[in-house]
C-alpha cells in the first residue's frame, strides 16, 4: 500500500501543475512535428513537380529522399496528435463537459481533413513507380491542401478559447448554464482570422527554415553540389517568401489583441498601468511590475496598437490581480518570438536581395551559419509564440468564461501519467533524431552527388 499512498494523498486537490505541464509537453512536442506535416509536403510535391517538368534527375532524387522523411514525420505527427484528443478529456473534463458540443465541430472537420491527408499520404508514399509520374504528383496535392485545412480548423478551436462565442455568454457567466449554442458562430469567432493565418504561415516557416538548415549545414561541410543547392533553395525560398507576410500578420494579430484581449496584450508588453502615449520596451526584463534594462521608445506601443502615438493602451491594472497572467513568462516569450522573427525577416531579405541582384543563392559562410541557426530559431519562435498566447490567456481556459482551475480534472495521481509521458517523449525525441540522421546519412547515387 506504500506505493499507492501518493495517489490517495493527491485525491483531494486537483493537480493543476501536472495537468498544465503534461498538456504543454504534448502540445509543444506535437506542434513542431505538425508544422512539418503542414509545410513539408509542399516541398516534396514542389521538388517532384520540378523533376517532372524539367525531366531533372537531381530534383527527382530529392523528391524521393524527402518522401522517405515525410513517411517518418507524418507518422509521428499523426500519433503524437492523437494523445491530445485523449488529454482534452483526461486533463480538462470540466472544459469538455461544459463546452464539448460548443467547440467540437472544428475538431470533427479537422478529423475529416486529417483523414484525407492520411489516405493520400498512403497513396503518395507507396505510389512511387506504381502510378504514372503525373498521377503520382497529383496524389501529393491533396496532402498539401488537407494539411493546411486541418491546421486551420484545429486553430479555430484555440481561437474560440480566446474569443468564446456561439452560446449565451452572459447567461453562462450568471448561472453557469450553456444555452443557445451555435457551433458555426463558435468556429468563426473574431480571433479565427488572425490566429489561423498566423499559425499556418508559421508552419511553412518552421518547415522551410528547418529543412533549409539541414542543407546549409551540409554546404558548410563542403557539399555544395546541385542537389544540396536545390534542396536548400527550395526550402529557404518557401520560408523567405512567407516570412514578410508573417510579420504583417503578426502585427494584425497584436492589434487584434489590443482591441479584444487587452489583458493579454498588456502582459505581452509588460504594461502594468493603463497609459496614454505608451512606450514600447524592446528587450529587458519584467521585474516587480516594470520593464528594466529595456530600450524604451516613447509612444511606440500606442502607435503599434492603434496607429496613434498618443492613444491610450490598457494596462494589467484593468483587471484584478487574480485575473492577470504571469507577465514575466508571457513577455519574455513574446520578446523571443518577435526577436527571432525579426532576425528571420532580415535573413529572408538578405536571401531575396542576393537572388534579385545575382540570380544565385548566397553562399558565404556567414549566411549559411545564419541559415543553420534559422532552423531551430523558427521552431523556437513557434514555441515562444504558443507560450505567449497560451500563458497570456491565464487564468482563463476559455477567456472571461471559465478558469483553468475549474476545468482541470480532480482525478488523483495524474502526475504519474505526466512523468511516464516525459519518458515516452524523451524516447520519441531521441528516436526521431536518430532515424532522421540515419536517413540523411544514406549516400546519394554518385551521379546525383556529383551533379555540379
Amino acid at each position: 500500500m506504500q506505493a499507492v499512498a501518493p495517489f490517495l494523498a493527491a485525491a483531494t486537490q486537483p493537480d493543476l501543475w501536472a495537468a498544465r505541464q503534461q498538456m504543454a509537453l504534448s502540445l509543444g512536442w506535437h506542434i513542431v512535428i505538425a508544422c512539418f506535416g503542414v509545410g513539408f509536403p509542399a516541398l516534396v510535391v514542389l521538388a517532384e513537380g520540378l523533376a517532372i517538368r524539367r525531366n531533372d534527375p537531381v530534383a527527382m532524387a530529392l523528391a524521393r529522399r524527402w518522401s522517405k522523411v515525410l513517411t517518418v514525420l507524418f507518422a509521428i505527427g499523426a500519433v503524437s496528435g492523437t494523445i491530445l484528443s485523449f488529454e482534452l478529456g483526461i486533463l480538462w473534463p470540466g472544459l469538455m463537459r461544459t463546452f464539448g458540443d460548443v467547440w467540437g465541430l472544428p475538431f470533427a472537420i479537422e478529423g475529416i481533413a486529417f483523414f484525407v491527408e492520411a489516405i493520400f499520404v498512403g497513396l503518395y508514399l507507396y505510389g512511387w513507380d506504381r502510378f504514372p509520374p503525373k498521377v503520382h504528383l497529383l496524389t501529393g496535392i491533396p496532402i498539401v491542401i488537407a494539411g493546411v485545412a486541418s491546421a486551420w480548423f484545429v486553430v479555430t478551436a484555440n481561437a474560440w478559447m480566446n474569443q468564446p462565442q456561439g452560446f449565451d455568454v452572459a447567461k453562462y457567466r450568471a448561472v453557469g448554464v450553456v444555452t443557445d449554442i451555435d457551433p458555426w458562430k463558435a468556429m468563426f469567432n473574431p480571433a479565427t482570422p488572425p490566429q489561423t493565418t498566423h499559425m499556418v504561415l508559421a508552419a511553412f516557416m518552421v518547415a522551410g527554415f528547418g529543412t533549409a538548415a539541414v542543407y546549409a549545414a551540409s554546404m558548410l561541410r563542403g557539399r555544395r553540389g546541385r542537389y544540396q543547392r536545390l534542396a536548400f533553395g527550395l526550402a529557404f525560398a518557401m520560408a523567405a517568401i512567407v516570412t514578410p507576410v508573417q510579420i504583417g500578420v503578426g502585427d494584425w494579430a497584436a492589434r487584434f489583441l489590443a482591441e479584444r484581449q487587452p489583458v493579454k496584450f498588456a502582459a505581452l508588453e509588460g504594461l502594468k498601468e493603463t497609459t496614454t502615449r505608451a512606450p514600447l520596451n524592446i528587450g529587458g526584463l519584467y521585474i516587480d511590475g516594470e520593464v528594466r534594462y529595456g530600450l524604451e521608445v516613447p509612444g511606440a506601443l500606442s502607435w503599434l496598437a492603434y496607429r496613434d502615438t498618443d492613444a491610450q493602451v490598457a494596462g494589467l491594472n484593468e483587471v484584478p490581480v487574480s485575473e492577470q497572467p504571469p507577465v514575466a513568462v508571457v513577455r519574455t516569450a513574446f520578446q523571443v518570438m518577435v526577436g527571432v522573427g525579426t532576425g528571420l525577416l532580415l535573413l529572408s531579405a538578405w536571401f531575396g536581395l542576393y537572388w534579385w541582384r545575382r540570380r544565385r543563392l548566397p553562399s558565404s559562410r556567414v549566411f549559411l551559419w545564419a541559415a543553420v541557426a534559422a532552423g531551430p530559431g523558427a521552431a523556437l519562435a513557434l514555441e515562444a509564440g504558443w507560450v505567449a498566447t497560451e500563458v497570456g490567456r491565464q487564468p482563463w481556459i476559455v477567456y472571461g468564461v471559465m478558469k483553468v482551475q475549474d476545468a482541470v480534472t480532480t482525478a488523483p495521481g495524474i502526475r504519474f501519467g505526466y512523468f511516464a509521458l516525459i519518458a515516452v517523449y524523451s524516447a520519441m525525441t531521441v528516436g526521431t533524431v536518430f532515424v532522421l540522421r540515419r536517413l540523411a546519412s544514406v549516400p546519394l547515387p554518385p551521379d546525383i552527388e556529383a551533379a555540379p
Binding site: 507518422a75 482534452l88 467540437g104 470533427a108 506504381r130 482525478a411
Partner: protein, 340 residues
C-alpha cells in the same frame, strides 16, 4: 430514432471500422512479436510491414473520429470516461505513439539490434494498446464510470478499470485483433503466392480464433456476475447478434480450415462487427451504465446537426479515395514486389 441516436450510430460505425481495420493492424503487430528470431522471422515481418505500410495511418483515423464525435455529441460522457479512466487511456495513448514510431523507425535503420529495438517497440505496443482500450470498454460496459463531475471521481485511479469486465475486455481485444490480423495476413500471403507464410498464418488464425471463442464463452459468465445489465441486454435484445457472432466466428475457422481465405476474412470481420454491435445493442439506451442515457448525455441539437452535416459532406470527400486506397492495397498494387 432520435437525432442523438443517429449521431451515436454514426460514432459506432467509426468504432466498428476502427475495431476491424485498426484491429487487424494491431493483430499484425501481435504476430510481429511472435515471428521468431531476426532471421527466421524476416519474411513474416516483411509481410507484416507491407501489409500495414500504406493503410495503418488511415485506419488509425477512425479512432480520432470516434473521440471527436463522442465529445461533440456526448460531452458529459466523454468527460466522465476520459477523466475516470485516465490511466488506461494514457497507457493506450502512449502505446499508440510508440507503436507508430516503432513501425516507421524500424524500416530505415540498419543492424539487427536497432531493428529489433524499434520492432519490439512496435509489436509490444500493438498488444498493450488494444488491451488497455479493451479495459476502457470493460469499465464503461460494467457501469464503473459515473457521470458526476467531482463527486463521481473514485478515490483510487485503478478501481474503475481493473474489474473482471475490464480484464475480459482487454483480453478479448488482444485475442480478437490477433485473430483478425492473422486472417488478413493469410489472405495477403496467399495473394503473394507465399505458401509457407499462408500456412503459417492459417495455423495462427485458427489458433487465435479458438482462443477468442474460448474467451468469449468464459466471458459470458464474467458478465453475468460483473456486468448484469449488459448481460441482460446481451441475452435479450442483442441475442441475435451474439448468435450471429458465434456463427460467423465458427464459420471463419471452418473456412480457414478449408483454405478459403477471402471468405474466411469476411466471416471473421462479420464476427467482430457482430460483437461490437452486440455490445451496443446490449447496453442500449444507456451511455454510462446506470447513470446516463443517450438523450441525457447528448449535446445541443444545433451541434449534433452541424456535425452530422459536416460528416456527410466529409464522407463524400474521403470515402472514394479511402476505397481506392484500400482496394489498391487489397490487390497488392501498392506493395507487392512482383506487380510493379
Amino acid at each position: 430514432m432520435s437525432l442523438a441516436e443517429v449521431v451515436l450510430a454514426v460514432m459506432w460505425v467509426g468504432v466498428t471500422l476502427y475495431a476491424v481495420f485498426a484491429g487487424a493492424d494491431f493483430g499484425a503487430g501481435f504476430w510481429d512479436l511472435f515471428s521468431g528470431g531476426a532471421r527466421g522471422g524476416r519474411e513474416s515481418r516483411a509481410l507484416i510491414e507491407r501489409s500495414l505500410g500504406p493503410v495503418w495511418e488511415a485506419n488509425h483515423v477512425w479512432l480520432i473520429f470516434v473521440l471527436v464525435i463522442l465529445w461533440t455529441g456526448f460531452p458529459a460522457a466523454f468527460a466522465a470516461i476520459a477523466s475516470v479512466l485516465y490511466v488506461p487511456l494514457t497507457v493506450a495513448a502512449a502505446g499508440i505513439i510508440l507503436r507508430g514510431a516503432g513501425f516507421v523507425f524500424r524500416e530505415p535503420v540498419e543492424g539487427v539490434g536497432m531493428k529489433r529495438t524499434f520492432g519490439a517497440m512496435f509489436a509490444a505496443s500493438s498488444i498493450i494498446t488494444p488491451f488497455f482500450l479493451g479495459a476502457v470498454a470493460g469499465g464503461v460496459a460494467s457501469g464503473r464510470v459515473p457521470a458526476g463531475p467531482v463527486e463521481g471521481m473514485p478515490a483510487h485511479p485503478l478501481t474503475p478499470w481493473t474489474g473482471p469486465t475490464s480484464l475480459l475486455g482487454g483480453t478479448l481485444a488482444v485475442v480478437t485483433t490477433a485473430f483478425l490480423g492473422a486472417v488478413f495476413l493469410a489472405v495477403d500471403a496467399q495473394r503473394q503466392q507465399n505458401v509457407e507464410l499462408t500456412e503459417q498464418f492459417r495455423r495462427r488464425a485458427i489458433g487465435a480464433g479458438l482462443v477468442a471463442g474460448a474467451v468469449v464463452m468464459g466471458g459470458i459468465g464474467v458478465l453475468a456476475d460483473d456486468a448484469p445489465r449488459l448481460f441482460t441486454g446481451l441475452t435479450g435484445r442483442a441475442l441475435p447478434l451474439v448468435i450471429g457472432s458465434a456463427v460467423s466466428g465458427i464459420g471463419a475457422i471452418v473456412l480457414l480450415w478449408k483454405r478459403r481465405f477471402v471468405a474466411a476474412r469476411l466471416a471473421a470481420v462479420m464476427a467482430v462487427v457482430a460483437v461490437v454491435w452486440g455490445w451496443a445493442a446490449g447496453q442500449y439506451p444507456e451511455v454510462l451504465v446506470g447513470d446516463l442515457s443517450i438523450d441525457g448525455a447528448a449535446g445541443s441539437r444545433s451541434s449534433l446537426m452541424a456535425m452530422l452535416v459536416c460528416l456527410a459532406v466529409g464522407a463524400i470527400l474521403f470515402v472514394p479515395p479511402l476505397a481506392l486506397l484500400l482496394l489498391l492495397h487489397a490487390r497488392g498494387r501498392l506493395t507487392d514486389p512482383a506487380r510493379q
